[in-house]
């Protein structure tokens, strides 16, 4: 399935979307950019830390709410679109449901296990409990309410056309996000033969019954790193952070890298992927 078809079919307006769930690596930027091109609106984004992708979707006006632990640029700092949206309502106001990394993981595990809440000691004494309606104090513990995404979009190294998936390197909260979500859209570096994956069933990331689409999208995580394939493009993140300081700068960046680009293979014509490639995967 093409990226455009997968987003068209499985990420309608108003969806709750878990994306960028492996923290810094494997961020499905190509999928996020397609959501922007198709003009998605009123999304709720769910994730742990988000290295620039949430900021871009917020700046493009796609987002109504974020449920996350951290939104910015990991090597550069503040998220400028995130700031404009929360401070000034530009391009639109958004709602923020603050979490910590641990509590967003627990919220997704709760949904994965079909449990309304999971109790924890983390966030005791933090004002995050005061401002997030999905968190409450009960019997000396914090109750973390389940967060159930409609769809999780996950970039991985390898998949087959039946939705069997392998990812490696640190996994962040990918597993709980996939199990919690109603459905999973996979974007992958390599589309491989099924027998090569099923030789190691312990390494299959999700039950294939969750996976509704597999999009073969090499380089689909750029500028984030992919273990065994690409290093992180630090300069690209730095350029985005500098450009997005102003709304005009962000709009120009978005036009150049997203709106005027029909798809990921065209985008990659403007990136030196070879310089980022890891020699021996």
């Amino acid at each position: 399935m093409s990226m455009a078809q997968a987003i068209e079919r499985f990420v309608p307006d108003g969806s709750t979307v878990a994306i960028g769930v492996s923290l810094e690596p494997l961020i499905p930027f190509a999928a996020g950019h397609e959501m922007i091109r198709q003009g998605r609106r009123d999304l709720e984004l769910v994730g742990p830390i988000s290295d620039s992708l949430f900021d871009q979707l917020i700046g493009a006006g796609c987002v109504r709410r974020v449920t996350a632990a951290w939104i910015g640029d990991v090597s550069e700092g503040l998220g400028h679109c995130y700031r404009r949206a929360t401070e000034k309502g530009v391009p639109r106001a958004i709602e923020v449901h603050d979490h910590s990394n641990f509590s967003i993981s627990l919220a997704l595990w709760a949904a994965a296990w079909n449990s309304p809440y999971i109790p924890t000691r983390t966030l005791l004494g933090s004002d995050i409990v005061r401002v997030n309606p999905g968190l409450s104090l009960e019997a000396g513990l914090v109750q973390v309410k389940a967060v159930k995404p409609d769809v999780a979009i996950v970039h991985v190294q390898r998949a087959d056309e039946h939705g069997r998936v392998q990812a490696w390197g640190p996994l962040g909260i990918a597993e709980e996000a996939g199990l919690a979500a109603g459905r999973v859209v996979i974007t992958c570096e390599e589309l491989v033969d099924e027998t090569s994956l099923l030789r190691h069933p312990n390494r299959i990331l999700f039950p294939e019954t969750k996976v509704v689409a597999v999009v073969h999208e090499p380089g689909g995580a750029h500028p984030s790193p992919v273990q065994g394939y690409f290093n992180r493009d630090h300069a690209f993140f730095r350029d985005y952070a500098a450009a997005s300081r102003t709304r005009e700068g962000f709009d120009a960046w978005l036009k150049r890298w997203v709106l005027d680009v029909p798809d990921r293979s065209s985008y990659l014509e403007h990136v030196d992927l070879r310089a980022l490639r890891i020699a021996d995967g």
């Binding site: 742990p48 990991v74 090597s75 998220g79 929360t86 401070e87 603050d98 640190p170 962040g172």
Partner: protein, 256 residues
């Protein structure tokens, strides 16, 4: 005359000395990644690093890291896993030391990385907790690093993202169910502030060479108490500087 060094290099050297040999260290981002490498290289070869992205290591990565999730941090790792497994060790009280970056800290060591002003319509929206609140609540002791400015070291933070010693009263953390011992030090561009054992209010423990008590107090947003054994911070040693420059060869974190 000692070799010239930057304020960031000073902070990394001081942070590295907080790591004890054999510690399990929740490393975090930016300068602490370098601090772990420097400590491992010198006095703490047995320290392990735990990264919330889902990694454990017993040696620093062999090349530069822009983030903890960069591929070189996975090569040679002891364990690559899901975040909730790393958090399990934190929740069990097995993490000896954590590092947290802060935008704003108060006299009781509470950190704000969420909102300046009203959360509903903030004047500044900061990125948020990340794993900061988890480290603050669950690790045995933790340290924060920040630029020493009056707007950052404030009397009380308006929003507690990562709790330190709360209202500063004795036993605040235990009473509220927090697991670990809380903040041990605030390492700044000018000085090191420490907390009494068991909690309470930060005091000035040492002043970096080139700064003065007056300068530190003028840049602190409360009436900072002086420690009884106030000293000058030991500058980075040659070995520490060499290690810092090996792990940050282009000065991405320490010279920009």
């Amino acid at each position: 005359m000692a070799e010239a060094y930057t304020a960031q290099e000073m902070m990394v050297a001081v942070a590295s000395r907080e790591i004890r040999d054999g510690d399990l260290v929740f490393v975090g981002m930016r300068l602490p990644i370098l601090a772990y490498a420097v400590a491992h290289d010198s006095h703490a070869p047995g320290a392990r690093g735990l990264f919330e992205v889902g990694l454990m290591r017993d040696q620093p990565a062999s090349s530069f890291l822009g983030t903890m999730g960069d591929p070189p941090n996975v090569v040679g790792a002891l364990w690559a896993t899901r975040m909730s497994n790393a958090m399990a060790l934190l929740a069990q009280g097995s993490v000896d030391l954590g590092f947290i970056g802060g935008a704003e800290v108060d006299r009781f060591g509470n950190l704000n990385t969420s909102y300046i002003g009203e959360p509903a319509r903030p004047t500044v929206k900061l990125p948020g907790s990340g794993g900061g609140a988890d480290i603050a609540i669950l690790s045995r002791r933790w340290v924060t690093l920040m630029s020493h400015e009056r707007r950052r070291l404030v009397e009380r933070v308006s929003f507690v993202t990562s709790p330190g010693h709360g209202d500063g009263s004795a036993g605040w953390r235990k009473r509220n169910g927090l697991l670990g011992g809380g903040p041990a030090a605030i390492i700044t561009t000018l000085a090191v502030l420490r907390f009494p054992e068991g909690g309470g209010e930060a005091y000035l423990a040492s002043v970096h060479p080139g700064s003065t008590v007056d300068e530190v107090r003028a840049n602190t947003g409360w009436d900072l108490k002086l420690g009884s054994d106030l000293t000058e911070t030991l500058p980075p040693t040659e070995a520490e500087l060499a290690a810092i420059r090996r792990f940050d060869p282009d000065g991405f974190w320490t010279r920009s």
